[in-house]
């Protein structure tokens, strides 16, 4: 190969003049391409198709008319959708808050590394690996109004035989309890990682300064928990918001339709009532809410992550003095 004056203008960034060089160019496409194709085919396309469906009105016979945004209009103006949304958010809120607290507690216990913790860890981590459907059945059986063991416990404590699926408040409590039981382990994992990311020297310094346990927790530990807390909020809020199995199995959406989650509503509308268009519209509205929540939380997360990267130890963090006073 002889160098020519035009070689310098050769397409830079291309390594295509050799056999392996060509392989190098095709490699990223071949590595990432199939995945992207599969994902586009099975996510982007169905979502667009779902949007298309939501603009139609489907009846049992399979016939459909294009009704544009009528489904959305119906959903957003009649109270039904908003009630379900509120209900779903209500359950989500309580479940996530309880999971945060309980998860943190479990993580703290695990972090103490007391002997015998192996069994504790084992038991605590099992629920999140079980199928949510199975968990729903667990609680269905325990909460049965006539023979459920939890019904029995409540009865023996003098509360009578609570009808978990008939009384609205009790039904909500059951759903919350189911979610909390299953997913607190996940929160525990996140919190534990956060607790273990605190540099040991900070605790040692606090010990030397004889800071109280409360000060240690709020000033040293908590800042390192910001990210795990945000992660918990992100994942748990969105996952709980989608909940389906528990209301389907335990309450069947009852009493009436008062514990019908948005997912269950979409399913019932689309499949039980065969109103595909309406069902698709509900699921699209859900999608919008989910991505809105995610957008906010991811912004907060990236902000926190940037803060964490900039200062490994925050130079502005208050220093605890020997008398417990806060020095700056």
């Amino acid at each position: 190969m002889v160098a020519s004056a035009s070689s310098a203008e050769m397409k830079i960034g291309s390594v295509r003049r050799s056999r392996l060089g060509r392989q190098l160019r095709t490699f990223p496409w071949l590595a990432i391409g199939p995945t992207v194709l599969l994902l586009v085919f099975l996510t982007v396309f169905p979502l667009l198709y779902s949007l298309y469906l939501s603009l139609h009105n489907y009846q049992l016979g399979g016939a459909s008319d294009l009704v544009w945004f009528q489904n959305y209009d119906t959903l957003l103006t009649e109270g039904l959708f908003w009630r379900k949304l509120l209900f779903t958010l209500e359950i989500t809120f309580f479940a996530v808050v309880i999971e945060l607290g309980l998860g943190l507690l479990c993580a703290v216990v695990l972090s103490k590394r007391l002997p015998g913790m192996g069994i504790f860890a084992m038991i605590v981590y099992i629920p999140m690996m079980i199928s949510p459907l199975v968990v729903a059945y667990f609680w269905r059986i325990m909460l049965d109004g006539s023979f459920g063991v939890l019904t029995y416990f409540a009865d023996s404590l003098g509360f009578g035989k609570p009808q978990w699926t008939v009384n609205l408040t009790l039904a909500k409590v059951s759903l919350i309890a189911t979610d909390v039981w299953q997913w607190t382990p996940f929160v525990t994992l996140l919190m534990l990682a956060g607790l273990q990311s605190v540099p040991g020297q900070l605790y040692e310094a606090a010990a030397l300064d004889r800071a109280s346990a409360w000060m240690v927790f709020t000033r040293i530990t908590l800042p390192f928990l910001r990210i795990p807390i945000l992660l918990t909020l992100l994942f748990r809020t969105i996952d709980t918001f989608k909940f389906f199995e528990a209301p389907y199995i335990i309450t069947q959406g009852g009493p009436g339709d008062l514990t019908e989650s948005l997912s269950l509503m979409a399913y019932n509308t689309g499949f039980e009532q065969s109103l595909l268009g309406m069902g698709a519209a509900i699921s699209w509205l859900m999608l919008i809410v989910i991505y809105a929540i995610a957008w906010f939380l991811v912004k907060a997360l990236t902000h926190q992550r940037r803060r964490a990267e900039e200062a490994i130890i925050d130079p502005n963090a208050p220093v605890i003095g020997a008398s417990g006073s806060v020095l700056r």
Binding site: M1, A3, S7, A8, R16, L20
Partner: protein, 359 residues
């Protein structure tokens, strides 16, 4: 065994950082060329351009008149040793040495022979069946060198391979490496920030700073005739003493201290920088020459590095002198007034604005 030619080579990163600026360089066949410079000067980038691990923004890389731009690194017949350990965790040294040979599909007996030869050359015959975790830093790098050379490449590149080794080991490795290189006659480019390494091993040294080549010459020439201020200040330990001042009446004047300019082509009022190496200064009694006070004495075996304050206004100008151990009457004392003279012909003058050499 090949000649490397770089023409107008540049590399600009997407953020706008110009790592390599318009470099022209020729490395002759079997030459041991060292690229020397401070961290971030672009020497590693230059090496990676030659290897093909980065694509140049412009310019041509030629090996024996073959244009290498656009050729996959592995197909350029170039071998490279990296700064950190690149041995695979679970393979023996023997397997590492065979690795490049397998890619070229040599016969099993041929592979065995070559492995034995290279191991002998590197004094690694007894380590052939060891695993990386059993090797010390020096042994691991030797294995990496062996893996590179076993291919008999046209060009051998090394990117600061001894940085992570300790001092005594480095000394030994330098000799081994230089020995192998001259025995094999493979054209070699060695990147480092360590002057000692450069001066010990190089046939030729290329000094780089901020992406450009500042001087490209043999060790002696680099030391005795630095082309510009950067090279002058960079090469030599302790560094050359520098004085920035104006020319007046045949002298370079700054802060009350003056050095004669001799027959250098300078004019009055011109800003220059004068430089004298520590070993080119002689300490004498405080009667002739420029006078000053001793401030620090650093014993270095047979020598002393004496720091002398030449004036006091506003901050003392401190120059270092490499002086032999004083005979007879005792050590240099702090506070002792002494005189300093420059050995004949050892003054370096640089243009005050551009930094390039005047004499």
């Amino acid at each position: 065994m090949a000649t490397l030619t770089l023409t107008d080579l540049s590399l600009t990163y997407p953020g706008g950082v110009r790592a390599v600026r318009d470099i022209d360089l020729v490395v002759a066949d079997a030459e041991f060329c060292v690229v020397l410079g401070p961290s971030g000067c672009g020497k590693s980038s230059l090496l990676r351009l030659i290897a093909g691990l980065e694509q140049p923004t412009s310019g041509i890389v030629r090996l024996d008149d073959q244009v290498m731009n656009g050729v996959y690194p592995g197909e350029r017949d170039i071998a490279m040793v990296f700064q950190h350990n690149t041995l695979y965790p679970n393979r023996t040294v023997r397997e590492h040495l065979e690795f490049p040979l397998r890619a070229r599909k040599l016969s099993s007996s041929e592979r065995y022979r070559r492995v034995a030869d290279v191991a002998a050359m590197l004094h690694m015959t007894d380590l052939l069946d060891a695993q990386p975790y059993q090797l010390s830093g020096g042994q691991a790098q030797r294995a990496a060198i062996g893996r590179a050379l076993i291919r008999q490449p046209r060009l051998f590149l090394l990117d600061e391979p001894m940085t992570s080794l300790d001092a005594s080991l480095r000394f030994e490795m330098r000799t081994t490496l230089k020995g192998i290189q001259s025995e094999l006659g493979v054209t070699t480019i060695y990147v480092t920030h360590d002057q000692d390494e450069a001066f010990t091993m190089a046939d030729r040294i290329v000094i780089m700073n901020e992406g450009s080549v500042l001087q490209d010459a043999g060790p002696e020439e680099l030391y005795e005739r630095p082309k510009n201020l950067f090279v002058a200040g960079f090469v030599g330990s302790p560094a050359m003493n520098l004085l920035r001042g104006a020319v007046y009446g045949g002298q370079v004047i700054a802060g009350g201290f003056g050095l004669p300019t001799g027959d250098a082509p300078v004019i009055d009022g011109q800003t220059v920088v004068a430089g004298v190496r520590p070993e080119d200064l002689v300490i004498g009694h405080a009667t002739s020459g420029s006078t000053g006070r001793i401030v620090v004495v650093e014993p270095q075996g047979d020598e002393r590095i004496v720091s002398i304050a030449l004036n006091d206004v506003p901050e003392p100008l401190i120059w270092k002198v490499r002086a032999p151990k004083p005979n007879g009457s005792g050590e240099y004392r702090i506070g002792q007034p002494v005189a300093m003279t420059v050995r004949h012909g050892c003054l370096h003058l640089f243009n005050g604005a551009t930094g390039s050499r005047i004499i």
